[in-house]
């Protein structure tokens, strides 16, 4: 993975740049000690790291604006950072960039139950948004696996999803408004407590723009009344194809579960060894969750199990208690960690049309044999968002490169069958060069033209999303 060569001019001006940032920000909001900036060298794509020029941690929108304005005037690139949980390298700095972290902006500004929204500062963690409203019977729907740690700012930047988006949508479907600072330091407000935009849907444009159009400091989020209850059913099959066919039939029958999760044998075994969730040793496992009152849950599960039984499941277990429900989810939620016990892994995020599931799984198996690296599959089957986990050994020379090459082939396969490179993690640096496989030259050009509008000098997170050769002329 290449990053652009840092600007020698900026590196030489480090002392001057830090002094200028100290002038416009409180003393403790600027970090330049190389020991203290170490933690900002990478995000959750930890294979890549780089020390930043400095780190700023503003405590308000005004301080954010001051920091961005100063960097803009000095021509210094800025890399925004939420909690640093990006799996795509979205918060990876370059040597000549200033990291702008929103971690200090973590307050709740307003919770309005009559109008079903909450306004928070963007550094607040995803789970603590729900935490702020659940005593009143509400929740915030998008639930990425990293929800304990990840920040709303990062959720907006990457348009994060989660296990329950089959019913509730992803971040962009739950975002009502933002306060955002542009690279030039201008504060703009978009959206609010009302629905939909009068003019262009700038909110939809900003959500998922990977921190390249502005730094969001406040977000107004839709909150929903909690359902009366929820219950999962666990269904095991002796083939991936049959499990995939079962998912199709359930959707076709007009039942819309809140989640349909799929795990294959390598992941089932790893999760079972790790959590002892009681998973059967089968080829494919589905966890299907439905919501509602007791009677509604029974009605939906009745339909689902009737369909599942037509596919001769090896195991079919309806949860009978909250403990059992937690147990069924425990293995799934720990699946990534469990695979990490076996070896290092790279987690992919391609999305495919649900109808192409068996074909894609066969293709992944063939690539696994070709490259000699094991793969586990765990994903959101209802919406086709795959998460193949490729196992490799980081200490073995050449293994990371081999794993990356295989990952690229899997993602190209996802695009070939009609899908896309990334369903919820974002492009970042990880999939940047693969963008050519999904988009033509003009498709990329019109996207980059949008960045030209918001950040004409290309200073905000410039080396992300777009292939370096495509963005080169604009970055200089």
């Amino acid at each position: 993975m290449q990053m652009p060569k840092p600007s020698a001019n900026i590196l030489a001006r480090k002392a001057e740049i830090v002094a200028c940032l100290r002038q416009v920000l409180p003393e403790n909001a600027v970090i330049d000690d190389p020991f203290e900036t170490k933690v900002y060298e990478c995000d959750a794509l930890s294979a890549y790291r780089c020390p930043p020029l400095a780190v700023v941690l503003p405590g308000s929108t005004e301080e954010t604006a001051a920091a961005l304005k100063a960097c803009h005037e000095m021509g210094v690139p800025v890399v925004p950072r939420g909690s640093g949980t990006s799996l795509a390298g979205g918060a990876l700095p370059t040597e000549d960039s200033v990291i702008l972290g929103v971690a200090r902006l973590n307050g709740v500004l307003e919770a309005d139950y009559a109008n079903r929204f909450i306004t928070v500062q963007s550094g607040r963690t995803n789970l603590s948004v729900t935490g702020a409203v659940e005593q009143n019977g509400y929740f915030y729907a998008p639930d990425p696996s990293s929800q304990l740690a990840c920040a709303i700012a990062g959720n907006i930047a990457m348009n994060s999803g989660g296990a329950h988006c089959l019913k509730y949508g992803v971040t962009t479907n739950n975002l009502l408004g933002v306060k955002m600072v542009t690279m030039a330091g201008e504060v703009i407000e978009i959206g609010g407590a009302h629905l939909d935009a009068a003019g262009y849907d700038l909110l939809g444009l900003i959500c998922g723009s990977e921190g390249q159009l502005g730094v969001v400091t406040e977000a107004t989020l839709r909150i929903l009344a909690k359902p009366e209850g929820a219950r999962p059913v666990l269904i095991g099959f002796d083939s991936n194809e049959v499990a995939g066919a079962c998912v199709s039939d359930i959707i076709r029958a007009g039942v819309l579960p809140v989640a349909i999760e799929f795990m294959d044998r390598p992941v089932i075994r790893a999760a079972e060894n790790f959590t002892h969730a009681g998973y059967p040793d089968v080829e494919a496992l589905l966890i299907i969750e439905v919501e509602g009152s007791e009677a509604e849950i029974a009605e939906q599960l009745g339909k689902i199990t009737k369909i599942a039984k037509r596919h001769n499941p090896v195991e079919l277990r309806e949860s009978q208690s909250p403990e059992e429900s937690a147990n069924i989810w425990k293995g799934r939620k720990a699946a990534f960690g469990a695979m990490g016990q076996i070896n290092d892994y790279m987690c992919l995020d391609g999305t495919i049309p649900v109808s192409k599931l068996p074909e894609t799984l066969r293709g992944i198996t063939a690539l696994s044999q070709k490259y000699g690296l094991d793969v586990g599959n765990v994903f959101h089957a209802g919406d086709g968002n795959m998460h193949p986990l490729i196992l490799y050994n980081a200490n073995k020379p050449g293994d990371l490169e081999l794993c990356e090459a295989m990952g690229a082939d899997i993602l190209k396969l996802c695009v070939e069958v009609g899908g896309c490179l990334t369903g919820e993690h974002g492009v970042g640096v990880e999939k940047r060069e693969l963008m050519h496989s999904q988009f033509g030259v003009d498709d990329l050009d019109i996207q980059m033209a949008v960045k030209d509008v918001f950040d004409p000098k290309w200073l905000l997170n410039p080396a992300k999303v777009f292939p370096l050769d495509a963005s080169e002329g604009r970055r200089q």
Partner: protein, 352 residues
């Protein structure tokens, strides 16, 4: 001009020397522009329909009715319940799916299933230079690059001419029920908020003429349970309600006066209605749990001063269609238009 293929359409735009008025079915007259008519209705036909993947791809000029019929035959539907403006505006023609997207037309189910922009997962379009561009795709989770899909929804043909649109679908419900509560406008916002705060998954919430209506959809047993529970909670009764008339605002069809569509913070609806009445509003119909006001006003009534937050669009009548934007937003909008349509050929002035 009525091209039959995307390539033909691209050639027309590329070689255009004068402004073009982009027309789908011509049934949604929102905003004004002047230009040579460019019809997209020649680009018609459903390209792909995968019921088991809840996905549909159609050319932009495909009649909405053709899509809705096919989906209904398969027990599915477009989630966002697009409204039909023909009765209200007195327009004639065949609504197209491209026109639905260009105006982000979303009905009562907006509060539960999202707007058109939330179900739209992919677009192909021709920009002002005549380039054929694509964004998004045919999968429901996609964060690959910037989301121009949302930007195109509701851009009224000013950023590009849509040629193909892709949607995520939902199963049509087995059953539908409505709970009606007889009450005054002043208390309706609280009633609708109470319904939305319940766990009963309300999919429509409207108020007019002393009646608040709350819709529930889903499996047979579930709807029966939830409608009873909601009726008990609110002191209402399960009854019938014409949601199509609500969606298409039949109450204002053929009645003299301007019609406004105003998006507001739901709890502020009744107070705003009072303020609007002082400025010439005659009738107000609430939708979206109080967050959407359809207003009938005497011709030329200057309603905008009453709208302190949210936004108002003049759907029928003479005057400025869209609200003025704050300076920084207006600057971004103008700059985006300049990038997508540098020669100002596509529906110039329609949104400005």
């Amino acid at each position: 001009m009525k091209p039959e293929t995307e390539a033909e359409l691209a050639d027309i735009v590329a070689s255009a020397k004068a402004p073009l008025e982009v027309i789908g079915g011509g049934t949604r007259q929102i905003g004004r522009t002047k230009g040579d008519p460019l019809h997209s209705s020649g680009l018609s036909g459903i390209r792909l329909y995968e019921p088991e993947a809840l996905t549909l791809v159609a050319q932009a000029g495909t009649p909405l009715a053709e899509i809705e019929t096919l989906l209904a035959e398969n027990g599915q539907r477009l989630p966002f319940e697009p409204y039909d403006l023909r009765a209200l505006q007195g327009t004639i023609g065949t609504p197209t799916i491209g026109g639905v997207v260009a105006t982000n037309a979303s009905g009562p189910r907006r509060i539960q299933a999202g707007a058109c922009r939330d179900s739209l997962i992919g677009v192909r379009f021709v920009d002002g230079l005549g380039r054929i561009l694509k964004n998004g795709g045919r999968v429901m989770k996609n964060v690959t690059g910037y989301d121009l899909v949302k930007l195109m929804a509701g851009s009224h043909g000013t950023l590009g001419v849509l040629t193909e649109v892709s949607f995520k679908l939902l199963p049509a419900p087995e059953a539908t029920a409505t709970v009606l509560v007889a009450e005054a406008e002043t208390t309706s916002a609280a009633t609708m908020a109470k319904a939305m705060a319940s766990p009963f998954d309300v999919s429509g919430s409207a108020h007019a003429n002393g009646t608040t209506a709350l819709r529930l959809e889903g499996l047979e047993g579930s709807v029966s349970y939830r409608s009873q529970a909601l009726a008990n909670l609110l002191g209402g009764e399960v009854a019938t309600f014409d949601w199509v008339a609500q969606r298409d605002v039949h109450a204002f069809a053929g009645v003299e006066g301007d019609v406004w569509r105003i998006s507001v913070k739901p709890s502020g609806g009744p107070l705003m209605a009072e303020a609007l009445r002082r400025l010439g509003a005659e009738k107000v119909i609430f939708d979206w749990a109080g967050g959407l006001l359809w207003v009938l006003a005497s011709k030329g009534s200057p309603l905008r001063p009453a709208i302190k937050s949210g936004h108002a669009t003049l759907i029928r009548g003479e005057g400025q269609t869209f609200p003025p934007e704050p300076a920084p937003i207006a600057a971004l909008s103008a700059a985006l238009r300049q990038k997508f349509d540098p020669r100002s050929l596509l529906n110039p002035g329609r949104m400005a």
